[in-house]
Symmetry: C2
Subunit: 340 residues, 2 copies
Amino acid sequence: MTTSLAQPGTGRTPPPQVPDALARASSLVVPALDAAVERLDPSLHEPVRHHLAGGGKHVRAGLALIAAAAVGGAEGEAVPGAVAVELVHNYSLLHDDIIDGDRERRHRPTVWAQFGEGVAIVAGDALAALAIQVLLDAPAPAPARMEAARRLADANQAMISGQSADMAFETRDRVTVEECLAMERDKTGALLSAACAIGAVLGGADGATAEALGEYGEHLGIAFQAVDDLLGVWGDPSSTGKPVGADLLARKKTLPVALALGLGGALADELVSIFSRAPDQTEIERTTRLLERAGVRDAVAAIADEHLRQGLGALDRVVLADKPKEELSEVARYVTARDR
Amino acid sequence: MTTSLAQPGTGRTPPPQVPDALARASSLVVPALDAAVERLDPSLHEPVRHHLAGGGKHVRAGLALIAAAAVGGAEGEAVPGAVAVELVHNYSLLHDDIIDGDRERRHRPTVWAQFGEGVAIVAGDALAALAIQVLLDAPAPAPARMEAARRLADANQAMISGQSADMAFETRDRVTVEECLAMERDKTGALLSAACAIGAVLGGADGATAEALGEYGEHLGIAFQAVDDLLGVWGDPSSTGKPVGADLLARKKTLPVALALGLGGALADELVSIFSRAPDQTEIERTTRLLERAGVRDAVAAIADEHLRQGLGALDRVVLADKPKEELSEVARYVTARDR
């Protein structure tokens, strides 16, 4: 997500503002995250701090805190859960950057690029273990702590399945829309879902309420990922910093590609063909236009909207405090905004 | 550890036999481990099974099962704990092989060498998450499950600290004996300790008994590692498959090196000197003899013996069932045997 302000005269709308609830969450979670990192072996402090200093909006942490408030708890009760989901998110970033060979993240060198692969592997492992330690040490009643730890471990495993499926897609010619959505539900939806459910559990929610908040989070994750896929092809280069059709150029089998393959015909054949070689920018721009004309852009947007709708619908199934419920809705609209 | 039988006429004593208790543990744990692996994303089944098919003696699993029996529980109660510690051990092997660039383990290609680094990173992450899932799903009372999960997460974090310290040693000229022992306690002792303590907890032990078994495991781990360091320099090449002084050739800062550096004088200077360049086999053999003459080999053996003694002593502090206690002693002597 890019937060650069629109330049005067470019005709772009300014990106949506970070909701207050997320800013408030960051101010609670960052010190707790720093304290947790202190528990790691001193040799890991520098690489981990280097990574965390890159920032991030702490969406997952924010969701955990708001969910706790939504079920009538105090945001503070969910801080260990918020820290734990941020730790899992960040361990996955450390490892994904190695896997993808990405040398930069948020305009800074990635940990493996700066400190070596071994350090990045071990630092990721340390954050994953720390997440469970933080949750099991939480000052919550034992059953809540246990439930939270189980949800985190399950979400971590689902996230790994998603990452693994994504890697497997690379060596395949075709991917169906269902496979792609299942991968995105696992890779992104599972941890957002766990963030909400864990926050709810630590805030004292009953099972059905925690489940509904988890469902909201899962749909939010899929909607977020669908928008990400849309921007990966049609994002404004001046905002994303990437060329038109960047994901196509990288031959990523994201939702637009799966949808186009599902349509069949000449467009699908063309996609298979350009993915079988190194396409040039002209071909990519042409394909991007063909995809849009075939309705793929609108279809991706519709999928995002549908999951956003279902996510918000899940919140209506249970009783939640008004203000936090409004904030959950605000965060949902923010992370799925198409002008980010 | 090598299990090849002595060849007639080589004059070598046959290696110690695998204790019955470990063989029995393998027969209980291997099916449970296979069932746990079934829970992973299908794309990870092949690499994980490839790795696990390499074998191993399931020392950690065996310790967990025997510990449960030692405190009056049934070995079966500790199976989820045994599976969890094996999973943590194996995730660390998957990641360590990448970090160390090792292309072979147990005479088979390592996962990263066969399936790629990305797959090996993700497969390791999956086993680490699975370990916690298996423990939290154990059919034990909730407080025992929670205590077991916490001990596992703490041991995992300690193991990571040890691995991280070991990596940091590579870029240093000198390492003290204390630093080296602390690293080995973390890297090897913590998980062996957790195996015993978790087995005890799942077998229904009180806190003091679980603590004593954990202490036994920690000393056992340090003793095992000290013997490993000894064999890394003075192991019989026909048994280890490695040249005389293999660890010196690889410039590893293990216990013999730390002890020699601690002695100071010409020998310490020589070690610093040969570690500053790529030493040849003749220099290594000469240094190996000098180390032995300076009493370093005996000193390492004495450290192993002392930790073995302290480990067995911890068992005498609490009330344990006779036969499992005898088996713990047998396993301790087996894993610290210097003719393995």
